[in-house]
């Protein structure tokens, strides 16, 4: 039995090695993707382009400007004469946030009629906008409240100089807040899915198309052995790809490995098995390579990318998509890679996830065998 599986595997490996284009995809793709995505998928927001309209021209208004430019989050790109010019600048994409300091700002701080500062924000990218607003509100409110408390406050208020309650924020696991630490580990999930599910489904359909699958089935190789032999080489390649990404992630981006490699390896094997089962199942659905490739891309890669907490939080999606994400194996695998790498989590945390991936594999395997047999024998 092992001899026959080995023979099928050898044949499949030779197929892979003889097709330089597929080989390139398998070997080069993870490297290019890690490198490009690690650099390009950057969600950190720094140096927000800032515009200022200062109608007040007092030392206090200048101090306020300084606290913006000195905050490290903003870069002053333009001073505008009035709000209208500022809006034009925003239309030309020069600034994301413009601070309008009204005339009388200084006097209002000294107890005169109130003249609040105005923020004009380019809301088109809600993410950048809410971040910019958060920083800006922090800066202005802090100054305003400090001034108010010291200038207007009673003795009791003055005693506490400033706000009575403040928040200290601490960030765990990724204290430098590097996007690459968030993205590179999860990239393993996407690339493994491509390397195993996509390529398996395509090779099986290719044998169907050329009629060689039937030839194999009339040989003494049993269909179970055939499936295992055809699928295993891709499983190994996927594991290799995973190791590749881990290594380049550590070397290029300094992604840590805080947990145990063995734990990661075990769960990764489960994930790859689930992915291979998907590939197998897809190959039973289609009979043409072009369609199988397309179907596999839509069924495997897209969900692993979009419905798995890879970058887009499933929590913020509509309920229907949240439910769909439950049947995407990457949803269960991504917390494991991130947990093991960044948090140093142990195996025990992920028993459910592992069991679900295995269950997923068994169901799909059973379904594929059911569809496979009557069609080919």
């Amino acid at each position: 039995m092992f001899g026959r599986i080995g023979a099928v595997m050898g044949k499949e490996l030779r197929h892979i090695l003889r097709d330089p284009r597929s080989l390139t995809i398998i070997v080069l793709m993870p490297v290019i993707m890690t490198f490009l995505y690690g650099h390009a998928m950057n969600l950190d927001i720094t140096d927000i382009p800032l515009g200022i309209v200062d109608h007040d021209h007092t030392s206090r208004s200048r101090q306020l400007c300084d606290s913006f430019t000195g905050s490290g989050q903003f870069v002053l790109v333009a001073r505008y004469p009035d709000a209208h010019a500022a809006e034009e600048g925003m239309l030309r994409r020069e600034t994301v946030l413009t601070v309008v300091i009204p005339a009388g700002y200084d006097r209002s701080l000294a107890g005169g009629p109130s003249r609040p500062v105005e923020f004009v924000v380019d809301g088109s990218n809600s993410n950048t906008a809410s971040m910019a607003l958060g920083y800006a509100q922090g800066i202005v409110s802090k100054r305003a409240v400090e001034t108010a408390v010291t200038l207007l406050g009673t003795d009791r208020a003055r005693r506490s100089d400033g706000l009575p309650v403040s928040a200290e924020t601490r960030i765990w696991y990724n204290p430098e807040l590097r996007s690459s630490h968030f993205i590179v580990p999860a990239l393993i999930a996407v690339i493994l899915m491509m390397a195993s599910a996509l390529l398996t489904s395509v090779t099986i359909v290719r044998e169907k198309e050329t009629g060689t699958l039937e030839q194999l089935l009339v040989s003494p190789v049993r269909s179970g052995e055939l499936i295992v032999g055809k699928v295993l080489p891709y499983g190994f390649l996927a594991l290799l790809d995973g190791a590749f990404i881990l290594l380049s992630g550590a070397l290029v981006f300094g992604v840590p490995m805080r947990g145990s490699v063995v734990v990661l390896l075990v769960y990764t094997t489960f994930y790859i098995m689930a992915a291979l089962a998907i590939g197998l199942f897809i190959s039973t659905l289609f009979s043409e390579q072009r369609v199988a490739t397309f179907g596999a891309l839509v069924v495997t890669v897209l969900p692993a990318f979009m419905l798995s907490d890879f970058i887009f939080p499933v929590r913020s999606m509509p309920v229907v998509l949240q439910l769909v994400s439950r049947i995407v194996p990457a949803t269960y695998y991504i917390p494991i890679v991130r947990g093991v790498l960044l948090k140093g989590s142990g195996a025990a945390l992920f028993y459910t996830n592992g069991a679900l991936m295995l269950g997923f594999m068994l169901v799909l395997l059973a379904a594929s065998v059911l569809r496979f047999k009557p069609r080919l024998e």
């Binding site: 209002s108 923020f119 920083y135 924020t169 990724n174 072009r290 970058i311 999606m317």
Partner: protein, 373 residues
């Protein structure tokens, strides 16, 4: 005149082929739906309902007030009360909570005595961007809580209105959908036109009919035009569909001019058609063509600023995006939808598209005619 007739014959032949190919038809109809759903609903970076654990050492009326104000904020969802620092670490490790609020034992006493008190907010920083936003929101919540306390203490004497006024332009409710959905137009147009051109040409090569066509009196230019023009027609059908979906289904208003959008779409098509033709000269079969186009497009889309702002990329990557036509078209589509900008603001985009498009098409055309001969 003769050319026109030849091209129109080829045009008809191509349309008949598209109509007869069930799988291609499925792709043309199915892909827009899948892509629209994903882009409209799945692609969100909004930070919402972050599970928050509370470790309240004080358990007083005031501390419960503070927890209440976290509960009322849609960034956080108060998930559970934690039993101690070990529980906090274990829950964050396991990912059952993504943030924790720690209120010190002397919280209410300090508040009553008027001395400063500090609460701690611990965030799971794995998703760096989300945790930054969450941190900003958490500080905001605590700040307004503090302000309410100051007001109470000033007993009657009102604070002047010193908090900033905020005016959000173009997307007042700050929903990422409005920013993402116009991307549907770009993604659909790019994927469908390049895939269909590429696959269509490779299929003719595979079946050998391309060679048959090349020995007929049809010239290469006519051949390319005849094969490509039907897809231009389909592209405009897709464009209408995508714009319609954005406006009617997702209620994203289009502030700019539709003719301008169509004009840019037309210029942009040179690029995708060029990609399709180019791939057809390299790929040996449809599957390879599909792979190649898919990977070029994924890179193109990642490097276009659709999901990840270009400003955040490294210098070199930013330079690289200058060669990416999708980047220019995406900017135009977004600005037109959200801001209603006019032609005057699109100088860079127009130059970029007008340089890259014809270049790509010319290069692809030359390679193609060499291959045919």
């Amino acid at each position: 005149m003769r050319s026109l007739r030849v091209i129109s014959h080829l045009f008809r032949k191509e349309l008949i082929q598209v109509r007869r190919d069930h799988q291609l038809r499925g792709m043309i109809l199915g892909m827009p739906i899948v892509m629209t759903l994903l882009l409209g609903y799945a692609i969100t970076r909004d930070v919402r309902d972050l599970p928050l654990g509370v470790l309240d050492y004080d358990s007083s009326v005031e501390s419960r007030h503070l927890v209440e104000s976290f509960r009322h904020n849609e960034t956080f969802a108060v998930e559970c009360n934690l039993n101690g620092p070990e529980d906090l670490r274990a829950s964050l490790d396991a990912g059952t909570i993504a943030a924790a609020l720690v209120i010190p034992a002397r919280f209410s006493t300090d508040l009553a005595r008027g001395s400063a008190s500090e609460v701690q907010i611990i965030l799971d920083g794995v998703d760096s961007n989300a945790s930054l936003i969450a941190a900003a929101h958490a500080r905001g919540i605590v700040q307004s809580f503090a302000l309410a306390q100051v007001r109470k203490r000033l007993a009657g004497r009102d604070l002047p209105d010193l908090l900033p006024r905020v005016q959000v332009l173009y997307n007042p409710e700050l929903v990422s959908r409005i920013y993402m959905v116009p991307g549907v137009v770009v993604v659909l147009l790019t994927m469908l036109t390049s895939l269909m051109t590429g696959l269509g040409l490779v299929r003719e090569r595979e079946s050998g009919t391309l060679e048959q066509l090349s020995v007929t009196p049809i010239r290469t230019v006519e051949l390319i035009l005849g094969k490509v023009l039907p897809f231009v027609g389909i592209a405009f059908f897709v464009l209408t569909f995508a714009i319609g979906i954005c406006i009617v289904w997702f209620r994203v208003p289009l502030h700019g001019s539709i003719p301008l959008l169509v004009l840019f779409a037309f210029i942009f098509l040179f690029n995708t058609l060029g990609l399709g033709i180019l791939v057809s000269t390299i790929a040996r079969n449809q599957q390879q063509a599909l792979f190649m186009i898919w990977f070029v497009l994924i890179f193109g889309i990642i490097m276009s600023g659709l999901f990840f702002p270009i400003e955040n990329m490294t210098e070199e990557m930013q330079l690289l995006t200058l060669l990416n036509p999708i980047r220019y078209f995406l900017t135009v589509v977004r600005e037109l939808f959200l801001k209603g900008s006019g032609m005057a603001t699109f100088g860079t985009e127009l130059t970029g598209l007008l340089t890259l498009g014809p270049l790509a098409l010319m290069f692809a055309g030359l390679r193609f005619s060499k291959r045919v001969k």
